[in-house]
């Protein structure tokens, strides 16, 4: 098992390095000139060229990547003279659009995204798995139809629409909640939760749908397994049977998908963050796209990729714990 974890970690690190190189090279290959993007509306070629040298965009891409990696390890200083800015390690770049070190931007956005993600994830798993189990147990009855109907509606509604509707209903037309404005959990846990109720619910409603269906199908499938029948024949209580036998088995494949979904969410819940005005990684990324803010774009892409790689590794290890059959593999 230990060897399994070790091997998985090494693989993840190698993968991350490869992803970072690809990201860097890809974004550098974009037709937009990063140096020109740092320049204002009265820009001259002279200023562009000066900025190019200052930011190192005149160097070959691989060397730029080297400097980028060096910055992550050692920190980096941008610009000459009194106006120079220093970003301490791990420096992911400096955003001339936002006038801040990218690492600072990311580390400010991450808690927001994590808050959104964790809450939404818990809620959607409870909702998705709960309704899925209910639907499977009450197969063919009204509970099943309600849950399946919910799942169909959730899947067919775009997040943007649900989010906007939620805001309009609960903060404008029937103002039971304030318009969401993120507050740190340490600053004021009550305000934190209150601001996140709508985003959590929106994400949960939209994303739970898939899980309702997966869980329902998984449970129904496992219910027909011989070992479940044997459990019943042993005299095991139905409730115990459902949790210990059915859910345990049905959830193993769901864990894999949930892990990746969660990682994708950590990479930024773009739409939700935008509509609910949550300054998380997703919003940062989308604004970087709008502003053509290359350093931020590279960094947010890397963060998202890192989460996916990490989640993959974690899911693999978890899978090993969950299913004794894959441990040796």
């Amino acid at each position: 098992m230990l060897y399994f974890i070790l091997r998985r970690t090494v693989f993840a690190v190698v993968l991350l390095l490869a992803v970072s190189l690809c990201t860097y090279v890809l974004f550098s290959a974009l037709p937009s000139d990063p140096a020109a993007l740092t320049c204002g509306k009265n820009c001259t070629t002279e200023v562009i060229e000066r900025n190019r040298v200052r930011l190192g965009y005149d160097k070959p891409i691989l060397e730029q990547y080297g400097l980028f990696m060096e910055g992550i390890v050692k920190g980096r200083t941008y610009g000459p003279g009194e106006a120079a800015v220093h970003c301490p390690a791990p420096a992911l770049g400096y955003s001339f659009k936002r006038h801040q070190c990218v690492t600072a931007l990311i580390s400010r956005s991450l808690p927001v995204t994590i808050s959104v993600s964790v809450g939404a994830f818990v809620l959607w798993m409870l909702l998705g798995v709960g309704l899925g189990v209910l639907a499977a147990l009450k197969r063919g009855r009204w509970q099943d139809r309600v849950a399946t109907g919910f799942s169909v509606i959730g899947i067919s509604l775009p997040t943007f629409f649900v989010a906007l509707l939620a805001v309009l209903i609960f903060t404008v037309w029937w103002p039971v909640l304030d318009f969401p404005s993120y507050t740190g959990i340490l600053t004021n846990p009550w305000k934190w939760a209150k601001a996140l109720v709508l985003p959590w619910s929106t994400l949960a409603v939209v994303s739970a749908s898939t899980y309702v269906r997966m869980t329902r199908n998984g449970v129904i499938e496992v219910m027909s397994e011989e070992f479940v029948r044997l459990g019943l024949a042993k005299g095991v209580r139905r409730s115990v049977l459902i949790v210990k036998y059915v859910l345990r088995a049905a959830l193993v494949p769901i864990v894999t998908i949930a892990g990746l979904d969660f990682a994708a969410l950590l990479g930024g819940a773009v739409i939700t963050e935008s509509v609910f005005n949550l300054p998380g990684v997703g919003k940062l990324a989308i604004e970087a796209v709008v502003d053509s803010d290359l350093p931020v774009l590279v960094a947010t892409t890397l963060v998202a990729a890192a989460f996916i790689v990490l989640a993959n590794a974690v899911v693999d290890v978890c899978y090993g714990f969950l299913d004794p059959r894959v441990r040796e593999g």
Partner: protein, 603 residues
């Protein structure tokens, strides 16, 4: 989830187009004109007089204190660094709250708001006879938020930052570099050598800590207007953080920035080092101003209409979206909270005098086009009022309704018959031969910003002109490349937009029609009357008597209309809705928005 994520790209793209026309003084409203629902086809009769906002524009029932909320869909302020601020909204917002300059506009509703008043200086400046040397004296008791006095050195240092192209990124206006007698190799204060700084301080001279003297390369009779731009504001060298200064500038006004949490809020609180006695311009009432960023665009209007809780003390950074206009402007329910007025822009179609060197044809084009149909195509009467010239009504001192060519229909519809008569006249005029051939046989190339609305607009142009025998060759250009394309390869006709940089038509007529003025694209210098025109413009530029100067601009505007060097389009308009407790929210003419610092709240 992936599916919806992809959908977002489209939505954000849509939002971008809207954001792009939000505010900068020099902007191409042309390329980015958004498609909005037509208000004229709705059946409601709408008034096109400006609406000033009723009670919300007065100070009725204002109580001292309170918090004003500014709702904004942008993720943050575009710039807070005085040398980098250029958008009209930011100039009025920050200029009335945090940043002071030597001179300012009077904060008052209507035309009164366009008069220049002394701010940090004791008066509006003294010019030498040739208007090449301008002297300002600083008043007593002016300080930064840390209590340190504002001296000549701070203004000198602030102005020098405009030259630091790599730090201030040329975000702000560049009049300093164009006007001031400073060596061309001056690199700005961050990297300048001692000699370079010494040379700079000859151009911007501190005669003593309270006296600043600007030495100009050329005569500028309204340089005292120029220094009202925040780019001529003070920055204490010790507090300069370079690129990061734009996140937290040092305040000299009645408010200071308490916190700026990008993507969330910018909170301004009262600056206790500021004294009313030292500031004849601003009269603050509020305790706090909270600028909320990143709100969903679709939500902002809904919140304003609902007018609940804190939103009763709210204003919006951007104007109402087209889909909200019908709700807000039908009936009187919102009359006390809504404003509809000019935002300072004029749109116009530049004629290339090298190719279309025939007045009869230029006039025929103006008469032939169905301006009403065009305005309907871009969104109807709310988008603007038909312009009679190039000076916006907001520039009240210089504005006069010009006399329009005979035969031009006042309702904006085409007068095809009159245009045909003019074309017949051109046909027989040997001086018009080449232009006539170009217009009727080859076709006139029409350069404009590419947009969905403009594909409709250009087809109206084509149909209108076809009726009088003129052919149009459509040439859509990427909006961001528009002005560069005009400069490098001007078409026969080009669609542009313009707003003033300060309250003087010197920032309209010379830049638009004088060679090297910055934005003159129509080869006007090929017109035989050009030398005479330049002479009159130069005379107006150096005229120190403002009233006299104004009448000169009015006459020049009339002359340009008569000669049809360009065809005026519309004076563009914007509509806003404020919360029910907001007072003093009137359109501050120079900026087309509120003087936020003077806003008060009713109980």
């Amino acid at each position: 989830m992936n599916k919806s994520r992809a959908a977002l790209g489209v939505l954000v793209g849509g939002a971008l187009a809207l954001a792009a026309c939000g505010g900068a003084s020099k902007s191409s409203d042309v390329g980015t004109t958004t498609t909005v629902g037509s208000a004229s086809d709705s059946g409601h009769v709408l008034s096109f007089a400006e609406e000033t906002g009723g009670v919300s524009a007065t100070n009725e029932g204002v109580v001292e204190g309170g918090t004003l909320n500014i709702l904004d869909y942008n993720s943050g302020a575009s710039n807070l660094d005085p040398q980098r601020i250029y958008s009209a909204a930011d100039l009025s917002l920050l200029g009335s709250t945090v940043l002071r300059t030597l001179t300012s506009y009077k904060i008052a509703p209507g035309k009164d708001g366009t008069s220049l008043v002394a701010d940090l200086a004791t008066d509006t400046g003294t010019a030498s006879a040739d208007a090449k040397t301008w002297t300002f004296t600083l008043r007593d008791g002016i300080t930064f938020e840390d209590g340190s006095p504002i001296t000549c050195a701070d203004i000198q240092y602030g102005v020098s930052r405009t030259w630091a192209h790599d730090v201030t990124a040329d975000d702000g206006p560049l009049y300093a570099t164009q006007y001031l007698d400073v060596p061309e190799d001056y690199p700005g204060p961050f990297t300048a050598t001692a000699e370079q700084e010494a040379a700079f301080s000859k151009g911007v001279e501190c005669r003593d800590p309270k006296t600043i003297v600007f030495h100009l390369k050329l005569s500028v009779s309204d340089f005292n207007f120029t220094v009202s731009l925040l780019a001529f504001g003070p920055v204490p060298k010790a507090a300069d953080t370079g690129d990061k200064y734009t996140l937290r500038p040092m305040s000299s006004g009645p408010f200071k920035i308490e916190t700026y949490d990008e993507g969330k809020t910018l909170v301004m609180v009262r600056n206790d080092k500021w004294s009313q006695a030292s500031d004849p311009v601003r009269t603050p009432h509020l305790d706090r101003i909270v600028w909320h960023f990143g709100l969903a665009e679709a939500i902002i209007d809904e919140r304003m209409i609902a007018d609940q809780g804190d939103d009763q003390a709210a204003i919006t950074y951007a104007g109402l979206a087209s889909q909200s206009l019908q709700t807000v402007f039908s009936g009187d329910q919102y009359a006390d909270r809504r404003t509809d007025g000019y935002n300072g822009f004029v749109s116009y179609t530049i004629m290339n005098l090298k190719t279309v060197n025939c007045l009869a044809i230029r006039k025929a084009i103006w008469l032939a086009i169905d301006r009403e149909a065009i305005r309907t195509a871009v969104g109807g009467p709310f988008t603007g009022t038909f312009a009679s010239g190039f000076i916006n009504p907001r520039l009240a001192v210089d504005f006069a309704e010009a006399t329009l060519p005979e035969g031009l229909n006042a309702d904006g519809t085409a007068n095809t018959e009159a245009a045909k008569a003019l074309m017949a006249q051109a046909k027989d005029d040997p001086k018009c031969a080449s232009a006539y051939k170009l217009a009727t046989e080859t076709g006139l190339r029409f350069d404009h910003g590419a947009s969905e609305a403009w594909t409709k607009v250009i087809s109206i142009w084509m149909d209108s002109l076809k009726a009088v025998g003129i052919k149009i060759i459509d040439n859509p250009i990427e909006p961001k490349d528009l002005y560069a394309a005009f400069a490098s390869n001007p078409g026969d006709m080009m669609r542009g937009g313009w707003a003033t940089d300060w309250n003087n038509a010197s920032t309209v007529i010379p830049p638009l029609f004088i060679k090297d003025g910055g934005s003159a694209y129509g080869n006007f210098w090929d017109d035989p009357d050009y030398p005479g025109f330049v002479e009159r413009v130069n005379a107006a530029l150096v005229e120190v008597d403002r009233a006299k100067q104004a009448s000169m601009w009015k006459a020049l505007n009339q002359w340009l209309v008569d000669q049809v060097w360009s065809i005026p389009g519309t004076y563009t308009r914007a509509q806003y809705l404020v919360g029910s407790k907001v007072r003093n929210a009137y359109n501050w003419y120079p900026f087309g928005w509120y003087a936020v610092g003077n806003i008060g709240l009713a109980a």
